[in-house]
Symmetry: C2
Subunit: 311 residues, 2 copies
């Protein structure tokens, strides 16, 4: 599949991001061989670089020089890659495949996978803070706070923690959605909201951007949940039907497929309304493009919004 | 055992550090209960806070306000705690006990242990970078570089990676020492060297401090190796005799106990010479105190330097 892109020229920025992922790699010529090999393997299936593309585009539109924008985008992708490495571990989701290939812990062992993820996280913080150092102290402080909140015990780690403890709780719709906002919404927030802290976005725009990231986190997860229930393994590149097996939060299981579809339609309405509000200013048009390419088109192709079966 | 201390008033700073560890905890009132419980458990056995004490004392001597010094010391202790949580995991050292208590992965599971360590790391980076923001751009840049190097794929992660792959390599003395410098020396370097980047240390002092941290990393590890071979589990609070069992790097196994003792004597000579050089300036006297309290006294008490058996 060709990577989904939100750039006018679809090849160039994605290639630049792929080069940046390699160029900024924490591996050195004297690295321990197994760790170096694991880092290399991590970059050979870079995926669609969705979050990095969002951050790069947003950063450029908010006036960041390309070098800084690429460095910040690489940081976000490293955080994302690290989160996938941890999520797939036997003690977490116990996944066998990722992006159609064996997971890193299958090929390099659990210990090396953990060290690889930590190396990516350390480099990501360094890249992010180096980049932030070029901005005003006020912008730096706000962005540091955002990084901490989104990546910490009240952000993506809370999402993963609630995900893992879901089966012991009430398994409510509310808890499913909370996991989605924290676990999936967090990195969208970082990708879209962070650049707005470094440029001239106003407060009402920033509120709208934050709301949009919540809707996207939820939309992403409800699509994933429906796919998990409805699809075969070959379609998603991940192991499927696992949520029921592992008692993991899944809206389609919690409230049924028809109700989950209706919820998805409602979320698309909310996201559309927010995007319309933002698109009064041309700077935000990339969010509209991304929304269509990344969420609306695949959902239409798979007829996930087809509510005839929900009637 | 009363915590080893390097402060004139032995109670006050350690208590302040213990309070800071709790006060800066990444847990919030709405944290997922299992993650919050794991974080709480992590702080109930704070150990001797050796690295935090070193950093606090050095920072105060280099003119940092107490609030900033405590925040930076807490950050270093969080990095250290996280490294212990990862090291003890079944896929790493597979330890059962730490500081005389069951390891966190024994009481809270592996997944929660990983998330706890990541929460500590995220908070530690935030505390460190918030504190650094009060210094000049040049000092900030140097300190950021130090943080990245020491905590990254060329620092503590390389040490752990070489530690784990040791059995597959030549098991040479050189590799044992390299693991010790990277794995154990790294956090000493952060604790002692980082404050010198924020104050008025000159280059020759900074070189001496860096060398001392290498010796300390080696001394610490050779003591640990001798203890692992010679002691019973109750003495160290950790599982013992495990290095041979797990084919882990251990100098006393690689070159024999007598040769390891001679190597330890030589390292003490080198460290003493460096400390004498530094102690021409009173600011560095805390390193002499620490060296005696933390390394020399316990080694004398255990007669680890008694070379009659090595004759």
């Amino acid at each position: 599949m060709r990577p989904a892109t939100i750039f006018p020229n679809p090849v160039d920025p994605v290639d630049k991001l792929k080069s940046a992922l390699l160029a900024y790699s924490p591996a050195t010529s004297t690295s321990e061989p197994r760790l170096a090999s694991a880092l290399k393997a991590t970059f050979t299936q870079p995926g669609r670089l969705v979050r990095a593309q969002l951050l790069l585009r947003g950063s450029l539109l908010h006036g960041l020089p390309e070098k800084e924008a690429l460095s910040l985008a690489t940081a976000i992708e490293y955080f994302h890659l690290a989160s996938l490495l941890f999520d797939d571990l036997p003690c977490m989701d116990n996944s066998m495949t990722r992006r159609g290939h064996p997971c890193l812990h299958q090929t390099h062992g659990e210990a090396t996978t953990i060290l690889t993820a930590l190396a990516l996280i350390n480099r990501a913080y360094a890249l992010a803070h180096d980049t932030l150092s070029h901005f005003s102290p006020i912008a730096q402080k706000a962005a540091r706070g955002c990084l901490e909140k989104v990546l910490g015990a009240g952000g993506i780690l809370e999402g993963q923690s609630r995900d893992l403890s879901y089966s012991a709780g009430p398994r409510s719709e509310r808890e499913v959605l909370r996991v989605a906002v924290k676990k999936t919404g967090s990195l969208f927030l970082l990708s879209v909201y962070l650049p707005t802290m470094l440029g001239p976005a106003n407060e009402s725009e920033q509120r709208a951007v934050r709301a949009l990231c919540v809707y996207w986190g939820l939309i992403y997860q409800v699509i994933d949940d429906l796919n998990d229930v409805l699809s075969a393994s070959s379609d998603t590149g991940k192991s499927s039907g696992r949520d029921e097996l592992l008692n993991r939060p899944n809206l389609a299981i919690a409230i049924g497929v028809p109700a989950a579809r209706r919820r998805l339609i409602r979320l698309f309405e909310l996201a559309n309304r927010t995007i319309q509000k933002l698109s009064r200013d041309n700077r935000w048009s990339y969010l509209t493009e991304f929304h269509h390419t990344y969420f609306l088109e695949p959902v239409r192709q798979k007829a996930l919004l087809d509510t005839r079966s929900a009637a």
